[in-house]
Symmetry: C2
């Protein structure tokens, strides 16, 4: 099984930052408890706090599919939609 990484980048505004971050942190805790999760790091750009980036590691595509079906992931999507510009890259390691 091939491990996969995800970079999920959220561009928020000063008005939406707190709410989006709270939703992310709630999802983070539950995501880390998932069997297929390797890591789930919530970070922010050091020079622009309105860029929040989640760095995720997953055991397989099946683990990602399961994660995407969870209530906590669906709740995150619902809570941040319209409050952030979101860019998601699912990545496989080359080197």
């Amino acid at each position: 099984m091939k491990t996969l990484k995800i970079v999920a980048k959220f561009k928020v505004t000063p008005d939406t930052r707190e709410e989006v971050l709270a939703s992310i942190l709630k999802c983070a805790e539950l995501s880390r408890a998932e069997e297929g999760n390797i890591y789930y790091d919530v970070t922010a750009n050091v020079s622009n706090p309105d860029i929040i980036v989640i760095l995720e590691g997953w055991k397989s595509q099946a683990a990602i599919d399961f994660h995407n079906s969870t209530a906590h992931f669906k709740e995150l999507v619902q809570n941040v939609t319209g409050k952030a510009e979101i860019e998601i890259d699912v990545l496989s390691q080359i080197n």
Copy 2:
């Protein structure tokens, strides 16, 4: 000392992909040998091979400053400039 992560995203074209990737892989090897490096993972978007993402971990801002002063980093910048759309986020962990 606070560890820092970097996400460096390269949007290439089918024409520039091979050359950019070769430059990145050369820099990767030398970067991993640096004392301040924690990890330097070269990845590609699973659904779009023209998106190459380097996931980096560094022991400190000083380690990043040193890395940015190295010949191999400067060579990478020179080799990829004009051949890729580059987006770099220096990140500190929130959670």
